[in-house]
Amino acid sequence: MIFLQLFYTFLKIGLFGFGGGYAMLSMIQGEVVTRYNWISTSEFTDIVAISQMTPGPIGINSATYVGYTAIMNAGYSQTMGVLGSMTATFAVTLPSFILMLAISKFFLKYQKHPMVEAVFSGLRPAVVGLLAAAALLLMNAENFSTPHDNLYQFVISVLLFITAFVCTRYYKINPILMIVLCGAAGAILY
């Protein structure tokens, strides 16, 4: 029964979760913590922290973790917990998978239609704004610290930011290599 509820809940989150991982997190909290009490608020806070720290989209990370924890909290075995994480991850992906297939098909077919062209002529500049906003929103104390809280970390963060920006944009360093190098710098410098 809890598996069905888990599936249905994450299907709903996948279907109505517009606006990226963070918007999804608040939906997950509303359903999983407040409504069903499958996990506690402090467990949820931990899950959010780990989802942000580990690789992968935050929506997928949190679905996987919440699925596992909810089933474990309900008193099932670890194997069932793994099944729970599969259920939640599958459910959260399914709606967008179906929708995106339909949209992709439509787009590839009517891409050259003048009206579709017109819509995208408005969307393209907005996407640039979206990207800029994403970068600006991430320039916060959580990612950079502040001169007041931790001057050393702030200075290192700004230097790493500038290095990564210049290296990827002007010297075409592979972004994956850049992430690995900055992770190593963090391990050495802190």
Binding site: Y68, R124, V127, V128, L131, A133
Partner: protein, 183 residues
Amino acid sequence: MNIYLESFGIFFKIGTFTIGGGYAMIPLIEEEIVNKKKWINKEDFVDLMAIAQSAPGVFAVNMAIFIGYKLRGIKGSIMTTLGTILPSFLIILAIALFFQQFKEYQLVENIFKGIRPAVVALIAAPTFSVAKSSKINRYTIWIPVISALLIWLLGVSPIYIIIIAGIGGYLWGRYKHSKSEQK
């Protein structure tokens, strides 16, 4: 190499290094899929971001679905989706099963302190290359500026920006169309 395995492998690699949310995938897709593999061109890449943002669900997965579909239809999109999801699924599962205290390791914390500002830079950099491929000029520069400010300072959800920009583009297209018919 078999295209299914190849696309799965590349998205597995991209999924592994997408740290800090879906937008972190943009520089990786730009490098691996647009520049290296040339599976989609720069213009389609911009359109794809608009599409992935306007559909519900996980942004990064939405992008993977589109690219997979463009490559090899439904089967292709299944491969790219699995590739994107699997690394995070396996890592989270390993953490949930074996190291619940993962985030308390000082070394892990330090590595991420180094990675986080880099990820922000990796998201900032494509803003400029995308601005170039979406042919922003002095008549259209206000659109990204206003959009970014609305989201950043006023907390407007990106989905509304997408809807308004789409409608705006449509109306502008009709207006230009009717004008050219009058001539």
